[in-house]
Amino acid sequence: MESLDTKQINLFDYHHIFQNEVLLSYKGPFDSIVLSVLAKYIELLVEKDANASRKMFKIFIELAQNISSYSSEVRPSDGAKIGQLAIGETPDHYSLVTGNLISNSDVVPVIEKCEIINSLDRDALRKYKVEQRNLATSMEHSHIGLIQVALTASQPIDLEVVHIDDEFSFFTVSVKVNK
């Protein structure tokens, strides 16, 4: 494992990314304890708006659980899945962005799923959720997380995929919730 050499890290690289008001940014393990702390903090951040708070919390749980289950970046010491999170705020909406490494073999299925999700109006998306949930064979993974995220946000999901090497890509999901 590479050691953390502080001389090689310049957080200014991140500084310009967050021009809007950043309420929170995080990179690290997405284990259950971290999720619970972040979820609690998100609820507090948006506390003044009960509807937005509920939505941000729901979206966070689904995207964070996706990272917990599927991130290809793993902390060697305990196997915890690594991911990134940023929460932002503008005058008219909140934004929630997550990022993580994924296998290249998962890229096309996820992009296709997002294209379907973003192409459907709300009624069709609800029907799609019901169909996909009926297909689920296990209670642990219903595979409707992204669909539910889009329904909760009432907005399209923005997906960015950056090819890294033959094995992995970096996967960013951005969602907005109106105030």
Partner: protein, 128 residues
């Protein structure tokens, strides 16, 4: 058979309130559902329903009042509803009520989607 009573908790994970009472012919599932192991939590509840159907088989009332569930729990809840549906098809009388916060339109849609999915009659009861 025995009743199942689980006191809900809002901790690292969220455990729903469960009160499955065969003497009162009533099931209650409320609070928040976001679990470490969804299958492990819901399987005993599904087994209880089978036992109720086989051993008690009196008209049953099932009251949902969940305020939050993640998508993993949403699959488990569908399994409960599908089981209730199969009992109704076999002749058991079951009343299903779902109490929800009248401000929470997303939850109302979730319940409507279960109705669409299962074709069950679920009474939507808004609470202010």
């Amino acid at each position: 058979m025995e009743n199942i009573v689980i006191k809900g908790a809002h901790d690292v994970f969220f455990i729903p309130n469960v009160n499955f009472d065969y003497t009162a012919c009533k099931c209650e599932l409320g609070g928040e559902s976001y679990l470490e192991e969804t299958t492990k939590f819901y399987t005993p509840l599904l087994n209880w329903l089978d036992q109720y159907f086989n051993e008690v088989s009196m008209p049953l009332t099932f009251d949902f009042s969940l305020t939050y569930f993640n998508t993993s729990s949403s699959g488990a809840i569908l399994n409960i509803l599908n089981k209730l549906k199969s009992f109704i098809k076999s002749g058991l009388s079951i009343t299903i009520n779902w109490y929800y916060d009248s401000d929470d339109l997303d939850m109302k849609e979730e319940i409507e989607d279960y109705i669409y999915s299962t074709d069950l009659q679920i009474n939507l009861i808004p609470k202010s």
